[in-house]
Amino acid sequence: MATATRTHPVHSRLFLNRLGLWLFIASEVFLFGALLSARYYLQGFYRPAELNQLLGLAISVVLVLSSLTAYRAEIAVAHGDQRRFRRNILATIFLGVVFLAGVVVEWREGFHFFPPSTGYGTIFFTLTGAHAFHVLTGLIALTIVYFLGRRGRFTTGSYWGAEGVVKYWHFVDVAWVLIYPTLYLVR
C-alpha cells in the first residue's frame, strides 16, 4: 500500500519523519538557547517589579493544559476515536488562542512599564515575541490538522501529520516552561 516504505526494510517512512522532526526540534533548541543566554548576558537576574505575576502564571497554566489536550488528541486518533480527536484538537486551539490573548495583554502592560527600547523590555519582547510566533505557527498547523481530520485523513495506523504537529506543540510548550521563569521568576 501507499504507506509502505520506499526505503530499505529497516526504516519506515514514519521513522524518517520522526527523526526529521526531532532534528528540527534540536535545531530550535539552539535558537531559544541563544535568546535565553542573551537575557542573562545583558540583564543578569534583574526583573522589574511591574511584571504582572498573576497573568504570567495564568497563561503558563493555560499553555501546559493545552499540551494535555494535545496529548489526548494524539491518543484518541491512535485509537481511531475521531470525535474525541477533533474535540481535543479544538480544545488545544482554544487554549492556544487564550494564551496568545494573554500575551497581548502582557504586551500592552509591558509597553507601558518597560517599553522595547529599555534593557529589560528588549529581552522581554524578544523572548515572548519569538515564542508567540512559534505558538502562532503551531496554531496554524493545528487548524490544518483539524480540517484534515474532518476529511478523515488520519486513521489508526496512519496519523503522522497529527502526531508531528502535537509533538511540535509540546516543544513550544517546553520552551515556554524555560522562558517563563527566565522572565518572571529569577532574581
Binding site: 530499505h8 526504516h11 542573551a38 522595547p116 527600547s117
Partner: protein, 616 residues
C-alpha cells in the same frame, strides 16, 4: 516560457507578498513609531511576506502545500534542461542547481576581488572611494562565504551523497528543493545592497555600525538569515538521509569518507546556524523596532553579538572544510589505489572537530575587550583542535605513502589542497596564540591566512570534486589538458598572490581598508598583478566546463575505475539512481585486496522492484 513558468509565478507572488507585508509594516510603523524612523519596517515585513510568496509561487504550493488544504499535490513533469529552472525534487537536479548557482557566484565575487585589487594597486585613491571599496569588499566576502559554506555540501553533496550510500534520493526531497529555492532571494537581496547605500560592515556585520548605517545592511542581514534557513534544512536532510537510507550492508564502518565529511558538517549547520540567526535577528530588531540589544546607553552590549556570531562562525569554518576534507580524502584514496589510511581515526577526528568546534569561538575576540581571563582557556581549546586536524592530514599522507599515484586533475587539486592547507593551518597557530594575534589581528596576515584555508583549501577541494564527478554528473568528459593547465595556473598564481600578503600584514597593512602607507606600494602592485593573472585562470575553467557539458565526448560509467557506488551506475545516473537495489558487501577502499567488491547492484536490470513505492 514553460521553463520559467515557476519562476515567473514566484516573482508575481513575491510582489504581492511584498505589498501585503509592506502595507502591514507601514500601518504598524505609524501606529507605534519606534526604531530609527526609516522605512525599514516596511522593507523587513514586506520581505518576509515576499519570501513566503516566492516560495509558494515557485513550487511549494503545487508540490506540497496543496496537501495541507486537502488537495492532491501536483506532480511536475519537466525533462531536459528545463528541469534545472523548476522546483524539482530530484537530488541530482538540485545538486546541479546548487553547483551552477555557486560557481556563478564564485566567478562574480572573484570579479569583485579584481576590483579591490585594482583599487589597492597603488596607494591613494585609484578607482573608487573608501565607501565603495567597503561595499565591494563586504559583498566579495559574504558571497564567498556563502560559496564556501554551500557549494560542496549543497552541490557535490546533494548529487553524490545519496548515490554513494546507495539511496534513491534524500530523505525529504521536497525540503531539499525548498533549501535550494530560498537561495535566489538571498542573491537578489545582496545585489540590491549597493542601491540602498551599500553595506560596509564586512561579512561579520558587527554592531554598533550595523545598527546605525545605511539600509543596505538590512538587506544583508535578511539575506544572511534566509541563507541560514537553507543551511538548517539542508543539514536536517543530510543527517536523516545518512541515518535511514543507507543500502543494505552499508554499515557505518563502510561509509565513504566523503559521506562522513558531509554528515559532520550537517550536524553543525543544523544547530549552530540558529545561533547566528538569533544574533542577526537582534540587529534587525534594533534597527527596525528600536530594541537595544547593542545600545550601550540602554544596557545593551555589542560584545554579545561577537560571542553569538562566532559561536556560529567558528563552527562554520568546519562546515566549510569537513566536506572538503571528505572529498579530497576520497579522491586521494581512489587515485592512490590504496585503502584510506586510518579510516576510523579520521571518522573520530571529524566528529571530534564537530564537538570541539563549539568550544573555541572566543579566539576571535582576543582584542574585543572581553575579560582577560578568557584568553588562556580559549587559546588552549583552539590549539587542541590541531590534533584531530593533524590526524586528517596524516591520513592523507599515509594514503599517499607508497601509493600508485594517478595524477589526473582531481588528484592534482587534492595534492594542491594538502599543500595549501598546510600553510593555512600553520599560520593559524599565530592567530590562535594570544601574544601574536594581538599584533596580527585585523591585518593582511589574517586575510592571507583565511584565503589559504578558504581558497587554497575549500576551493581547491571543490575543484577536485568537480573534476572528479563531472563525468558522472553530466555524462560527458572534459578536456584533461585544459584541466591540468587550470590546475597549474591556479596553484602557482594562488601562492604567488597570497604569500606576500603575510608579509604585508606583518608590516602593518590593515585589513578592510582602501588605502595603506606608501612604502607598501611595491608589494601591493605585485600582489595585484598576480591576482589578475590568477583571476584570468578561471576563464579556462569556465570554458572547459561549459564547452564540455554541451559538446564533450560521452563519458564511460566508471572512468576512474573507482569502487564506490556512484561509479557502478550509469553516467549520468538514471532516475532513482540504480536499475536495482544495491547491496554493499565490503569496504569502499579495498584496492588490491583479492576478491573484494564494495557493492553489487541487485538483480539484473528489469527485475521487479523489491520495495514498494511510497506516498510522499
Amino acid at each position: 516560457m514553460k521553463a520559467l513558468g515557476g519562476i515567473v509565478k514566484g516573482l508575481v507572488f513575491a510582489i504581492i507578498g511584498f505589498i501585503v507585508g509592506g502595507g502591514i509594516g507601514f500601518l504598524l510603523m505609524n501606529a507605534a513609531p519606534t526604531g530609527r524612523g526609516t522605512f525599514e519596517p516596511v522593507i523587513a515585513l514586506g520581505y518576509v511576506f515576499a519570501l513566503i510568496g516566492w516560495l509558494l509561487g515557485v513550487g511549494l504550493w503545487d508540490a506540497w502545500a496543496r496537501e495541507w488544504v486537502g488537495l492532491p499535490a501536483k506532480k511536475l513533469e519537466v525533462h531536459g534542461w528545463r528541469r534545472y529552472f523548476r522546483f524539482s525534487t530530484d537530488h541530482k537536479v538540485i545538486g546541479v542547481q546548487y553547483l551552477a548557482t555557486f560557481l556563478f557566484l564564485f566567478l562574480f565575487a572573484g570579479l569583485l576581488a579584481m576590483l579591490m585589487r585594482l583599487e589597492l594597486m597603488a596607494p591613494g585613491e585609484t578607482i573608487m572611494g573608501p565607501n565603495t571599496y567597503n561595499t565591494v569588499m563586504s559583498l566579495h566576502g559574504v558571497i564567498m562565504i556563502a560559496v564556501a559554506v554551500a557549494a560542496i555540501i549543497g552541490g557535490l553533496g546533494n548529487f553524490a551523497l545519496p548515490i554513494l550510500i546507495g539511496a534513491r534520493d534524500v530523505a525529504f526531497p521536497r525540503v531539499n528543493a525548498l533549501s535550494f529555492w530560498v537561495l535566489p532571494p538571498v542573491v537578489i537581496l545582496l545585489l540590491l545592497t549597493p542601491l540602498f547605500g551599500g553595506f560596509d560592515t564586512g561579512w561579520t556585520g558587527y554592531p554598533p555600525l550595523s545598527v546605525t548605517n545605511a539600509t543596505g545592511t538590512l538587506f544583508f542581514l535578511l539575506a544572511f538569515i534566509t541563507f541560514g534557513i537553507s543551511s538548517i534544512l539542508g543539514g536536517l536532510n543530510f543527517i536523516t538521509t545518512v541515518v535511514t537510507l543507507r543500502a543494505p550492508g552499508m554499515t557505518w564502518g563502510r561509509l565513504p569518507i566523503f559521506v562522513w565529511g558531509v554528515l559532520s558538517a550537517a550536524m553543525i549547520s543544523l544547530t549552530a546556524t540558529q545561533v547566528v540567526a538569533a544574533g542577526l535577528i537582534m540587529i534587525v530588531l534594533d534597527r527596525v523596532t528600536g530594541t537595544s540589544f547593542f545600545n550601550a546607553a540602554q544596557g545593551g552590549n555589542a560584545l554579545l553579538y561577537e560571542h553569538v556570531f562566532w559561536f556560529y562562525s567558528h563552527p562554520a569554518v568546519y562546515i566549510v572544510i569537513l566536506p572538503a576534507f571528505g572529498a579530497i580524502l576520497e579522491i586521494v584514496a581512489h587515485f592512490s589505489r590504496k585503502p584510506l589510511f586510518a579510516y576510523k581515526w579520521v571518522v573520530g577526528s571529524f566528529l571530534g572537530i564537530v564537538a570541539q568546534g563549539f568550544l573555541v569561538w572566543a579566539h576571535h575576540l582576543y582584542t574585543s575587550g572581553m575579560s582577560d581571563w578568557l584568553h588562556i582557556p580559549f587559546m588552549a581549546t583552539t590549539e587542541v583542535i590541531s590534533i584531530p586536524t593533524g590526524i586528517v592530514f596524516l591520513s592523507a599522507l599515509g594514503t599517499l605513502w607508497l601509493g600508485k599515484l594517478w595524477l589526473k586533475p582531481p588528484m592534482l587539486f587534492s595534492l594542491g589542497f594538502i599543500f595549501n592547507f598546510l600553510i593555512g593551518g600553520v599560520t593559524g597557530i599565530f592567530n590562535a596564540d594570544v601574544p601574536t594575534d594581538i599584533h596580527l589581528q585585523d591585518t593582511y596576515f589574517i586575510t592571507a591566512h583565511f584565503h589559504y584555508t578558504l581558497m587554497g583549501g575549500m576551493i581547491f577541494g571543490l575543484m577536485a570534486g568537480v573534476y572528479y564527478w563531472f563525468p558522472k554528473f553530466t555524462g560527458r568528459k572534459y578536456n584533461e589538458t585544459l584541466a591540468k593547465i587550470h590546475f597549474w595556473w591556479m596553484f602557482v598564481m594562488f601562492n604567488v598572490t597570497f604569500i606576500p600578503m603575510f608579509w604585508l600584514g606583518i608590516h602593518g597593512m590593515n585589513r578592510r581598508i582602501a588605502d595603506y602607507s606608501p612604502e607598501l606600494g611595491g608589494v601591493n602592485m605585485f600582489v595585484s598583478i598576480a591576482a589578475f593573472v590568477l583571476g584570468a585562470g578561471f576563464l579556462v575553467f569556465a570554458f572547459n566546463l561549459v564547452y564540455s557539458w554541451v559538446r564533450g565526448p560521452a563519458a564511460e560509467a566508471n572512468p576512474w575505475r573507482a569502487r564506490t557506488l556512484e561509479w557502478q551506475t550509469l553516467s549520468p545516473p538514471p532516475e532513482e539512481n540504480f536499475h536495482a537495489p544495491p547491496v554493499v558487501s565490503d569496504d569502499p577502499y579495498g584496492y588490491g585486496i583479492p576478491g573484494s567488491i564494495h557493492a553489487v547492484i541487485g538483480p539484473a536490470a528489469g527485475a521487479p522492484r523489491q520495495e514498494s513505492e511510497v506516498k510522499r
